[in-house]
């Protein structure tokens, strides 16, 4: 029986034995077989969150998920988000004084964006404490946690407004003096 996985909106079929082996992880399948390199494998043991993708809208660590386990499910990787996704924009644009940027080396960033996506799916207007708790399974060694928290807060408060006002504009409007996004 073929293993069917919907990846970024498109169904893929994998033949067990040829495409998928029982011990193959979802991260391996997505990166090495499909070439979706947005997710990163940094620890390969569920400690850092860099490989986070969404399965049916919820965050999963793809290095801890067997590829076969995704059969019949919908996987969303960062490549599946639109370019103007409010969260991506908010991560990119964070420069509010006092919080630094939301990324530096950028290696952990896709994992943080996807974890934040899942958080906002469940809780569209999280309080700062809820953001802290929701993102505490991810490691950013560059240490951009305050910038990340700020970006998520902004995306949640400005990103989903019905007039389509993006987080970029929202952040520009509310940015304190001195910020030139």
């Amino acid at each position: 029986m073929a293993i069917k996985i919907k990846i970024n909106g498109q169904w893929h079929e994998f033949e067990p034995g040829r495409d998928i082996e029982p011990a193959m992880t979802l991260s391996w399948l997505l990166r090495e077989k499909i070439g979706l390199t947005g997710l990163k494998v940094a620890c390969d043991e569920g400690a850092c969150g860099a490989c986070t993708v969404l399965m049916d809208g919820k965050a999963v660590l793809s290095c801890m998920t067997l590829a076969a386990r995704a059969h019949g499910h919908e996987i969303l990787t960062i490549e599946g988000l639109p370019e103007d996704d409010p969260l991506i924009r908010a991560f990119a644009d964070q420069c509010e004084p006092g919080y630094g940027t939301a990324l530096q080396c950028g290696f952990c960033t896709p994992g943080f964006v996807m974890t934040a996506k899942a958080l906002l799916n469940e809780n569209p207007k999280p309080a700062p404490g809820e953001i802290k708790e929701g993102l505490s399974g991810n490691i950013c060694r560059c240490g951009c946690y305050p910038g990340i928290a700020r970006a998520v807060l902004r995306a949640s408060h400005f990103g989903c407004e019905p007039d389509g006002k993006s987080a970029v504009r929202a952040s520009a409007e509310s940015a304190p003096k001195g910020c030139r996004p």
């Binding site: 850092c48 370019e83 940027t101 080396c105 950028g106 490691i139 951009c144 910020c179």
Partner: protein, 791 residues
């Protein structure tokens, strides 16, 4: 905790430099489009690619008596096996993983520690558990490569080992590199000097004459860089040419290393570095043996070979643990007359840059912070043990030194009944300025104000008690900043190239490996600032993030936190030359002499009659349409401008029933000279605290003392702080001191880590009134200090 961020006010208002703005690579990275080396080397991109795996020592100290890899070579899917018995391996020269101090490119002959060539590529001598020794295989998959390693039969001679440097120094201890260090103590070296490497005035006399003397110990441990992007490389050796994709941060040095070790001409080695997922000093200068054995496998198979570390294997280098003793003597009025520091550093299995940390960094500090102390003595000993090798790590040597320095200052202030801020201002500055030092004064005043020093600082252990068992305290530590431009003279010439196209779009070639520091954004901002006369902005400038030794200029090595301004200084010079060339071009068309013309907002005009002129675009269009290309190189400005100061202030809460320390707030203050890129500088100030707090509280490599096996080479047991573990951090950017050149900036990134552990320790002392000499500050140490538990 709420606060209103206070953006800094620039000393000189500039259009682009110093702004709060997104990074130039932010969108690419946020959208997951940035490609790191592991992404660029997928098998789908290199269909014939093989994977390399190297044999690792299961023993802390052992020698390979015999090795039989015949069965491994016969496994299906295994394409090559190399062992220490093969001549192409055994004939490789002994080497060091620290050829340079990380700023310039040097040859094998000129390597920094020629007397410490303690590494053999795939040698037969294993010096720590995990050491890469004996054999390497190339196979169709990593799994097959691992199976092949298991099929290699090794007969080991297990040797006695030693983990503790104090034990290793004793007569009769197991000797690790007898040919280099017969007693495990690294020999004296030309770079760092004698064991007593600073001896100013007369320290003994100074102590004898002092009114007050304090003595302290501080122990810094084996923290590790933990870049998320594990070491990875791909080598493709086709006919006589070798191409390397790597995440080393020093492309030009990597090329030199590979060229010389494998005896291939420099122009036949091409090293390409894309985005790198965090560096933090990892791997010293990139002179890693694995580049060489991966290359040899590619040569042998004729196929591209990829080698990457697992997370466990990426525990590959660390900060030098150091046991420091410090002593200070002062007059009753708080004038410090004498200081003495002694370090015993644990270099681990290989020396690498141990002596850089133990001697070079403290020597720099002597010339700056300790310049006004008449009697100073420092001595250091680097010691081989069978632990993880120690190398460069963010704030090399300074973190360890600050841990004792800030300790002694705090203790001395207490004994003198002085505020440590007053004591610091009375004594520390730099050689080229008087006391009190303006930079230090402002840094400490800002820190004190923002942490609430006056209100919160109380007598040790004598503050209020919260929730029946919790006590709070505040503390700080300070350090001379680095690096001003004059401290980068060793780097040699820095080259950049600016190309102004006929449409006034610009290509900037200012190569430096993009490890996340923000210096590439600084370069683009600096370029836009310097080319302001073209009427362009950062968006009009393209600056490739990839460093390629074949097509680009030499990369400015991503070290010393200095790249953020070093290249911009040269860009400013190059931009002046661009202007000059454009004036020459326009002069022909405008029938004027170049010096009669000026350029502003993209328009060339006569100085005497601003109304007469033409746009720069028209100069190109009516002229030869050739872009203006200016390539320029110059060494850093060696003018001695002194150094600025940095400090961290911490507020902590200690649960006296459990020993748990929680950092409530950190204020991070950097006098930057000039803030090159405010958001990036803040990100470094804030970000460095993850390493600083981790080193202070939770991060530690734990070994099984009976076997030397490291027990926590993973991020579950080696605990890096997450968002939930981090306190509120207030970044404070200042421009008080000024260096040489257009901007007169200094490095920011590394120093942000340096003062954190000591600031936390001093705050803990203020909270509980008991001093703890060792980090990480785990609860059991706090309970022991409080007398609630014994050994």
């Amino acid at each position: 905790m709420t606060r209103t961020p206070r953006p800094y006010t620039p000393r000189v208002a500039r259009k682009f430099i110093g702004g709060y703005r997104p990074r130039i690579d932010a969108l690419e990275k946020a959208g997951g489009k940035a490609q790191f080396v592991d992404d660029l080397t997928l098998k789908s991109r290199f269909p014939g690619m093989l994977y390399a795996k190297v044999l690792r020592s299961p023993y802390a100290h052992a020698r390979i008596k015999s090795i039989d890899a015949s069965r491994a070579g016969q496994l299906p899917g295994v394409k090559a096996v190399l062992t220490c018995k093969d001549p192409e391996v055994s004939e490789l020269l002994p080497t060091s993983a620290g050829w340079t101090d990380g700023v310039d490119t040097v040859s094998y002959e000129r390597m920094m520690w020629p007397h410490l060539r303690d590494r053999r590529v795939l040698g037969d001598h294993a010096c720590w558990v995990t050491d890469e020794v004996g054999a390497v295989v190339a196979a169709e998959s990593e799994r097959i490569a691992e199976e092949a390693l298991e099929a290699i039969k090794v007969e080991w001679e297990i040797l006695p080992f030693v983990l503790d440097p104090l034990e290793a120094m004793k007569p009769g201890a197991p000797v690790i590199h007898p040919e280099i260090a017969p007693r495990n103590i690294l020999p004296k070296d030309a770079v760092g000097g004698k064991d007593v490497f600073v001896d100013k005035g007369d320290a003994d006399k100074g102590f004898a004459e002092a009114d007050v003397v304090v003595e302290a110990v501080s122990v810094h441990h084996n923290a590790t860089q933990s870049s998320l992007d594990n070491w990875c490389c791909l080598v493709d050796w086709k006919s006589d040419k070798l191409t390397v994709l790597s995440n080393s941060y020093e492309a030009d040095q990597s090329r030199m290393h590979i060229s010389q070790m494998l005896k291939v001409p420099i122009n036949k080695v091409r090293v390409i570095s894309s985005y790198v997922g965090g560096q933090f000093g990892r791997g010293d200068t990139g002179d890693q043996p694995f580049f060489l054995f991966t290359a040899l496998l590619s040569k042998k198979t004729g196929r591209p070979v990829k080698f990457r570390h697992t997370r466990r294997e990426s525990f590959h280098d660390s900060r030098q643990p150091a046991i420091y003793t410090g002593k200070a003597g002062a007059k009753k009025d708080g004038t410090i007359t004498t200081m003495y520091f002694k370090a015993i550093g644990n270099s681990g299995a290989y020396a690498d840059h141990t002596m850089f940390a133990l001697k070079f960094a403290p020597t720099e500090i002597t010339a700056s912070a300790l310049a006004h102390i008449p009697n100073v003595r420092m001595e250091s000993y680097g010691v081989y043990t069978n632990k993880l090798p120690a190398c460069m790590m963010r704030g090399v040597g300074n973190s360890q030194f600050n841990l004792i320095f800030g300790h002694v200052v705090d203790m001395l202030a207490e004994k003198l009944s002085m505020d440590p801020i007053a004591l610091a201002l009375k004594n520390f500055g730099h050689q080229w300025g008087g006391l009190p030092d303006k930079s230090l004064e402002r840094v400490l005043r800002e820190g004190a104000g923002r942490i609430g020093w006056r209100a919160k600082r109380h007598k040790p252990g004598a503050g209020p008690v919260y929730d029946r068992v919790k006590k709070r305290g505040v503390g700080f530590s300070f350090h001379p900043g680095w690096h001003a431009e004059w401290q980068e003279a060793r780097r040699g010439e820095i080259r950049v190239r600016i190309t102004v196209n006929p449409d006034c779009s610009v290509t900037l070639d200012a190569p430096t490996v993009e490890t996340g520091t923000g210096s590439s954004t600084c370069n683009v901002l600096g370029c836009a600032e310097a080319l302001g006369f073209l009427g362009i902005g950062p968006g009009d400038i393209v600056s490739p993030h990839t460093v390629d030794t074949e097509t680009g200029l030499k990369d400015c090595v991503q070290t010393d936190s200095a790249v953020s301004y070093l290249q911009s200084e040269v860009i400013a010079c190059a931009a002046r030359e661009v202007k000059h060339r454009l004036q020459e071009k326009a002069a022909k068309l405008m029938k004027a002499r170049p010096e009669e013309l000026d350029i502003a907002d993209g328009r060339v005009y006569r100085k005497a009659a601003a109304g007469i002129g033409m746009t720069v675009r028209d100069v190109f269009r009516r002229g030869d349409m050739l872009p203006v290309v200016v390539e320029m190189g110059r060494p850093p400005n060696a003018e001695k401008t002194g150094v600025p100061y940095i400090a961290n202030f911490a507020e902590v809460e200690v649960d006296t029933s459990t020993g748990k320390v929680q950092v409530l707030k950190l204020v991070v203050i950097n006098d930057c000279g000039t803030v090159m890129y405010a958001s990036g500088a803040e990100a470094q100030q804030i970000g460095g605290q993850v390493t600083g707090v981790g080193e202070a509280l939770t991060e530690e490599i734990i070994y099984d003392e009976a076997t030397g096996v490291p027990l926590n080479f993973n991020w579950i047991d080696y605990r890096i702080p997450t968002m939930a573990d981090m306190p509120d951090i207030e970044p404070v950017l200042l421009e008080v001191w000024r260096g040489a050149g257009e901007y007169g900036a200094c490095g920011v990134g590394e120093g942000t880590v340096t003062c954190t552990p000591r600031a936390v320790l001093n705050a803990v002392y203020n909270a509980i009134g008991a001093r703890i000499d060792e980090i990480p500050l785990k609860p059991e140490k706090v309970l022991k200090a409080l007398g609630l538990v014994t050994e």
